[in-house]
């Protein structure tokens, strides 16, 4: 979800569909597989320092008031999220092997099948927070419609039941972590999962649809220790079902969710 770019300003990519493989480069040159290239023939071969930039949320920092204050966003996005991006860049400067990965690939590679490398925490948290800002919108909440609603009703029984499961997961997550609505590839169904610290469902090759940050820093300034009120406001007023629907549409290109309705002649 990060932009693989040579400057730190936010790259204007469609926030609904940003996902894998956004590798840009000098005049369209695909840098995915290259490690070091000379920047210019006239200089000595200099290292290409590929790095990630901090992406802006798709709304102003005060747009989520009063459910998530401007102060929280300034701290959470402006300092913490930025800190993860800068930390990741510093680590990547010292580690050649990890150049050239897209963000999704970087997360899977640094997860190292359960024995995470030091870069994993920063990479995953950068991804998780990008995903989180995009999972919310001003005047969000309400309900999903059409296909996504049908799928939720099929996999959870009802939308209310899904919400209960989501809230329950958030309240029973001990410590720091994230709550996800995820499309499981193997089981071919939507599920609510909770993960600790920086872990995200990409490492199990599943497809996240929305997430919620339940690290204390995400809600402490606005709600103190009242995690329940925070989760309720997220579901009722912040979550963007439009973005979730777009992600679901994209996910259906990878997961076969059912028999097509072929009419009998």
């Amino acid at each position: 979800m990060g932009s693989f770019c040579f400057h730190t300003s936010a790259v204007p990519s469609s926030h609904l569909l940003s996902g894998t493989d956004c590798t840009y480069g000098l005049g369209g040159l695909k840098l995915g597989n290259l490690r070091k290239i000379p920047f210019s023939r006239t200089h000595k071969a200099s290292k290409v320092l590929a790095f990630y930039g901090l992406k802006k949320p798709p709304y102003k920092l005060d747009a989520l008031e009063p459910y998530m204050s401007k102060r929280t966003l300034e701290m959470h996005w402006g300092e913490l999220h930025r800190g993860y991006v800068e930390g990741l860049n510093k680590q990547l400067e010292q580690n050649d092997i990890l150049y050239g990965y897209t963000m999704d690939e970087l997360i899977k590679a640094t997860y190292n099948n359960g024995n995470p490398l030091p870069e994993f925490n920063n990479a995953a948290q950068v991804w998780n927070h990008n995903f989180f800002w995009e999972s919310m919108e001003p005047r969000g909440g309400d309900m999903p419609k059409l296909g996504l609603l049908d799928q939720i009703e099929k996999d959870f029984g009802s939308f209310t039941n899904f919400k209960e499961k989501f809230v329950d997961a958030a309240l029973t997550l001990f410590g720091s972590g994230w709550v996800w609505l995820v499309l499981k590839r193997q089981e071919r169904r939507l599920e609510v999962v909770k993960t600790s610290n920086a872990i995200n469902p990409l490492v199990w090759n599943d497809i996240p649809i929305i997430n919620l940050d339940v690290w204390e820093h995400a809600y402490y300034l606005d709600y103190k220790n009242d995690r329940a009120a925070y989760v309720k406001n997220f579901l009722d007023h912040l979550v963007s079902w439009d973005v979730a629907t777009a992600r679901m549409i994209r996910a259906e290109a990878f997961v076969n969710l059912g028999e097509p309705k072929i009419p009998v002649a």
Binding site: S176, E216, N225
Partner: protein, 232 residues
């Protein structure tokens, strides 16, 4: 033990014997309550704000106590019904909430206002042990601060003593795991809470500042007492 006797009486007898009744009433479930702070909420200012102390004690610690008691009741009930899967299922809630109660009870005793000895370096056997095992008090503080800063997510940094090996250790635990989960012979002396609720309102994201400052209110007298008791 009263418990097993009582089970014997209540399970195998058909008519409730008066002695069974007596044993049943003495086998009450031991529940817990929030310990009082030995100082005012604002007494640790400006190192730890009164607001944080109040929320930390009245909300967070109280929640751990309440949920621990709830889990204990459910455990008691499951044990009486002979329901092993519920008993096992409750273990994570017991560890989390029980650990939260244990850890925070130690934490309140680890802190003291400056005018009651907070921040005064340890003397006596603990002071010597620190110099022996870590070189100096400064280097111990640096080690614990580094561990605290590097800890991902929620957890604690501990200075403990290994009863068997007669040695001081610095350890970290995740979430609310008590120090004993890192080694059965470890006894906690000082615990630093690095959950975000312990510092966020005041220090925001700057965990290292919180860690540098908290030493000003650490109650080494308590740690020395525990150490001397364990090394006796």
């Amino acid at each position: 033990m009263a418990l097993s006797l009582c089970n014997l009486v209540s399970r195998n007898s058909l008519a409730p014997l008066p002695i069974g009744r007596l044993l049943l009433s003495t086998r009450g479930l031991q529940t817990f309550s929030l310990p009082d702070l030995p100082y005012d909420y604002g007494a640790l200012e400006p190192t730890i704000s009164g607001e944080i102390m109040m929320l930390h004690h009245q909300k967070h610690h109280q929640t751990y106590v309440t949920n621990y008691n709830k889990a204990l009741e459910q455990l008691d009930d499951a044990m009486n019904r002979g329901d092993p899967s519920t008993v096992v299922k409750l273990q994570s809630a017991l560890k989390f909430n029980g650990g939260g109660h244990i850890n925070h009870s130690i934490f309140w005793k680890n802190l003291a206002p400056v005018n009651e000895g907070g921040g005064e370096p340890p003397r006596g056997s603990l002071g010597w042990a620190i110099d022996t095992d870590f070189g100096s008090l400064e280097s111990l503080k640096q080690k614990m601060n580094a561990e605290g800063a590097a800890l991902q997510g929620s957890g604690w940094v501990w200075l403990g003593v290994d009863k068997e090996l007669k040695r001081l250790v610095v350890e970290t635990t995740a979430n609310q795991d008590p120090l004993v989960t890192k080694g059965p012979s470890l006894v906690p002396l000082i615990g630093l809470d690095v959950w975000e609720h312990a510092y966020y309102l005041q220090y925001k994201n700057v965990k290292p500042d919180y860690l540098n400052n908290i030493w000003k209110v650490i109650n080494w007298k308590y740690a020395s007492n525990v150490y001397e008791k364990e090394s006796a």
